[in-house]
Amino acid sequence: MEGPVAVSVVVASHARHLRLLWLLNALEEQTLAPGLWEVVVVHDYDPATAERVLERHPLREAQRLRHIAMAPGTGSPASQRNLGWRAARGELVAFTDDDCRPEPDWLERMVTTAAGTAGDVVQGATRPDPFEHGVLAAPHVRTMFIEPVGSFAQTCNILYPRDLLDRLGGFDEQAITGEDVDLSLRARAAGAGISGAPEAIVNHAVESHTLPGILRQNLKWRHLAYLVKRHPELRRELTLGVFWDADHLWASVALAGLIAASRNRGLIVLTAPYALRASRRRGPGRRARAVAVAELPGQAVRQFAEVLGLAAGSVRHRTLVL
């Protein structure tokens, strides 16, 4: 595997070797001419897993896949992606995540859009994987829906010119989360535009979690305050400039109502807007409403935990985000 390629696909992978395999299989089906692209995976898998999933993959045999192993548990998404793009041979660097499944024409469309908007960052569309829509029946799911150009420029479907990454110094390795948002904001500040490629589609995994599992997973979001402190302009994207989204606003009001109700029972009414909103989250219809109501306590615990986590992060980073 020698010589330059037009685009390098960089993937950071941790604790999801099966998903990574499925991603590599999807990349194998890309319509972009084989000589024009490569894949660089940065991971922390043990040698046996790396042999099984990466070394013996057809993309590796076709000399279109390289992988860089880090010691288990030593990487972060930012550091892994930095290692990946610095090792890339392409003038363009496309990022996707190990829990994604790009459509076969994804890379071709990203490269075509990049060619028409020289120097711009290109953001494609991300949607919950139609193959996994059945999982949406679970009360706690994690997936992504992004219509380009979005404000956050997540790495599940984004392309940067290599020289822009060089100028920006890559991802901020101090950021525990939101390193992709931070990079895109610095790119904008440096004068780069962000172009949308709505037909370059990446399907994102739909993962269901238990309540404790989703609480653990969402703990990292408490560090979003760090991101907002670094980029105050992000407040324009927040509800009322403080709340991460409308759910957090009403969850905060409900939480305040629950706490205040111990002194004044009437204030329990403050929980009503949140309860009403949560009871409609499954859509119209009696059955959907019944399911949403049954799920309401778990949803409330989750939202309250997220708000409290963000409050703790706000104290730590000395800026208010809930």
Binding site: L18, R52, R101, F131, V135, L136, A137, S208
Partner: protein, 180 residues
Amino acid sequence: MPGTCVEQHIHDLAAALRGAGHSARLITSPSTRMGGRSGVGVPSIGGKLLPEALLQRRGFAGPLAHLPLTLRDLAKGNFDVAHSFSPADALAAWAWASVTHRPVAFTCIEPLRRDCLAHLRLRRLLLSRAVEGSDGVIVPTETARAALWRWMAVEAPVIEAWDAAAHERLYRELLATRGH
């Protein structure tokens, strides 16, 4: 165990093992064609406990409702080897094996497809536990072998259902691996 092709496979294997002098027993749901007796003189036990329809409505990969009783029947059976044919049953077999230290085999009968790897809740977890947590994984056809490698990166030998001798060898190897 859903699907007539799967049922036929199990039927053929049970008949072949029985014909080779082994005392094979089926643990199966009464809702399947093999409930009660398999038709080849293989005793069949098992039943249902939970309402499957509720689990299906909530998006779970199934069938799962029979698993508690499957586990109970496995525990009561004093078996040497548990051989599962669906990812959900492999979970029960794995739980049984973790207590009894007996081996578990898993036959991945149907060729895996990308659209069915994670299409329901628990599907990916059950599938990965079945192929990565079983002591021995086999497939009945070349197509199933290729699909298992492509989607799970697991190599498995092809052993057809009628081949009692090959299954017997597999069970002996698995028992030896577990120190029996």
